[in-house]
Symmetry: C3
Subunit: 348 residues, 3 copies
């Protein structure tokens, strides 16, 4: 018997159970500073109290993506310690702003189970909620992962395939209470482009590139208290097909979103995660580039919303908007295909 | 004459003198976030205000090991700038919790001096106190180092060998005032194991590994304002027997303690440092693993206490509980042998 | 048409125009902790509230150099995105202390333009102001950069060469309101040397060295929200004459100033930047050393002021006070020649 956590295997999950995750975390302005140092983020809403207050916030909220990574990190010891692959996200919605001083904790409902035909692994689908100290759900999302079985002989559970929306409907997007962009200062935000300036189908090359170091992704992933060993244990990784540490997918999302400031500087506020796939592995020393495409738009009254596809590339700039290779598979340079909604001020 | 600090040499110390160290430091929640980013620490008491408040703290205190490193860092310019080796610790006790906003300063009494037979070096023993802005001693510990002589001809002082306890007696352990584990939430802490579950002699493999980068140990050591040049000046190190930067021993302690969360998740609160030796040097790119052994237990009323031996290994996992090699010396993979007391909730 | 920022080219600047920069930033105690972790800074005034309060500050202010880097970072997208070289600084003055919670923003007046004889580039001179949330100017400085032309055929503007002072006159130095060094504790600050102890012409070898990693300079430069791609995009840099990322010059200044603590421990408070040149490029893995020379002294009443020349060297210690090579050019090891005023307590 061991007191260290072996993690759950596929046969340990039951549809309908709720897993309460450990390690509540009081987030502070320090997490914002570290997030800036780790990503280079420049969205004014998250780094300047007066800008946030002018838009109806109490003060600068924590970047929703940072909230997502922290909540996600809490689920790792229970959900994905024995995961083979992180397969996808859906139905992610940011519901309440998180401020410095708030304490985040998380719980997950198991909503899907399906053993793979190999009999060695299965797909586990969970709906996770991040809650604050007032027990308000600040974030909810669905994630599915491929998890190893402990015993190949364990019987396959009755397959449950949850129905998941292809994307979050604009009707389900929640703007922060009191959001007011009427006095929004486009110059101070660093971009002149308002909601009305973006056209469905439009693609934006974010131009800049960012080379990633081992220390950087490890610092970020530890800040999220995500302890999946593939990101940290280089010795153990030497026995794997990659032979080295894998960068946590959330690091790629945050870096790509920071790069996307250059072209989407006013689309700071992520409202929903529609879908997301980590298409190819990202490693230290890779240089990340990104491009975006406007998939849809919605007028939410107090703000516009853009449905954006964010594609991150490694070691190839985004000038050519690289996407699929011949044959339809993702090109080898593509590491992330991420679909989300973000609020953006209207020209008014 | 130079205005830069040459550091003290062996003949500059006098038994009985008190050295007041420079660089008081106001610690903040930022130090907690950085500590999490640098170590991956997950002890809930140090990262969630509500968890700490439920246990009788004002808010999440600063991790005692971080307090130790910061206090230790202040002593370096006065004690160990010309040290050859950091030989050991004893009689370390954490007496008062340190909170964000507190200001730490430090002073040391020289309690032992003994010239080595070579005539080139001597052992200096100091008892250091870390104090807060109310002049309360928050931490005290003894440390001894081997220090170079400036002039080989300087006369040897009368040897003074302080008597030091092999370990801190349970009677001398101090629980934080008002500590109350009666409502402790084991699930939220991430481990079901209470005081009663640990048996003397029991060993725990902490399983996880952490590969360390140059940037990481440098950031940590600078955060502690520990400026010993062996950790930072790679050019000067090229002329030494190791040929590269040495990782500050405190980084190994903190990383090993963070790894130890996996098996000791409720033993967050370090109460005492009984002994500690940095057995082999740790370098960047090494992967650290750790195992623990329960050396003793004590019921302190409001909490239990475990006396734990924490052994950190480099580049070899801890499954075999590696310790001594044949012949009785430490195996070459062992970097740290650390003996401490930690409080842990009772099942109640 | 693209929505990403192409940056201004030489022909886009007009003498007399004011450019309002984006990305206001609320600085916090976290920036101080990160600054300590990134530089190893030990000036007590910036890391201990009680020390700062004893000297008349509200609490520990943000290190003026960190303020400078943050303000500078805001100007990059507007001024130097297409810069070939950062040529110099002048007339820098720190006017109001910046505290945690203050929000910094920046604007620049174009005060000089001169096309180079090649017709491909020109020199742009701007006077930048950093302002806080009360619209007080906390910092002002002049900087000139060589910027590419977009179109070689664009006509050369009428050359305007602003007259700039060789150095800030002591009469123009501004001590923080209420500065009071009467109770200054030299021991706690870590250096016994007061204003009266420094002689004009005196040189100080700061002894210590610091080896810099890619992750470290990238973290620092992102913390400043300085996004100049030469510091981050290793792939794009492979096509340049250096073939790798360049370290932002501000990182060299801050590291050299942190090293200068050893010999100038009481000269924490930078009052003015007289001049500064980044003489040779600094790269990751270089080891930085520094020496200082006292150029002048001034008695400001409540404090003394030292005019200091700070020279940073790479991969060569500062024992020989390396400076110019034969022929008068800077030696290849010199990376920085920086001229500033700092306040220092008088012996009283």
């Amino acid at each position: 018997m061991t007191k260290s956590n072996p993690g759950r295997f596929f046969e340990d999950f039951r549809v309908g159970e709720t897993i309460r995750h450990a390690t509540p975390r009081t987030v502070t302005a320090a997490d914002t500073s570290l997030n800036i140092a780790l990503t280079g983020g420049r969205y004014a809403l998250f780094c300047a109290d007066p800008v946030a207050q002018a838009a109806g916030f109490t003060r600068a909220p924590i970047d929703p993506l940072l909230v997502f990574h922290i909540v996600f990190g809490k689920t790792v010891p229970d959900i994905s310690l024995n995961a083979v692959a992180n397969l996808g996200y859906a139905e992610g919605r940011f519901l309440v702003p998180v401020y410095p001083g708030d304490t985040l904790s998380a719980q997950s409902d198991v909503i899907g189970l399906k053993q793979n035909s190999s009999g060695k692994t299965g797909v586990v689908t969970v709906r996770t909620r991040g809650v604050n100290q007032r027990n308000e759900t600040v974030l909810t999302y669905v994630r599915w992962v491929m998890v190893n079985k402990r015993e190949l002989s364990a019987p396959a559970p009755a397959p449950v395939n949850p129905h998941l929306a292809d994307f979050v409907s604009p009707n389900d997007l929640v703007l922060p209470a009191g959001l007011d962009f009427s006095g929004y200062d486009f110059a101070l935000a660093g971009s002149p482009h308002a909601f009305e300036d973006y056209a469905i189908g439009e693609r934006i090359d974010h131009v800049d590139g960012m080379t990633l170091e081992e220390a950087e992704h490890q610092l970020a992933t530890r800040l999220y208290q995500n302890t999946a060993k593939v990101h940290f244990d280089n010795l153990a990784q030497q026995g794997t097909r990659f032979g080295k540490r894998l960068v946590y997918g959330g690091v790629a999302i945050s870096l790509a979103r920071a790069l996307a400031f250059n072209g989407l500087g006013n689309a700071a506020l992520m409202l929903a995660i529609n879908a997301g796939r980590h298409v190819n592995p990202l490693f230290a020393h890779d240089t990340l580039y990104a491009w975006s495409q406007v998939l849809d738009t919605a007028d939410l009254g107090a703000a516009g919303a853009l449905r954006l596809r964010l594609v991150a590339l490694k070691n190839q700039n985004a000038h050519a908007f690289t996407d699929r290779a011949e044959g339809g598979d993702y090109a080898e340079h593509v590491v992330l295909d991420f679909d989300y909604w973000a609020a953006i001020p209207k020209r008014g």
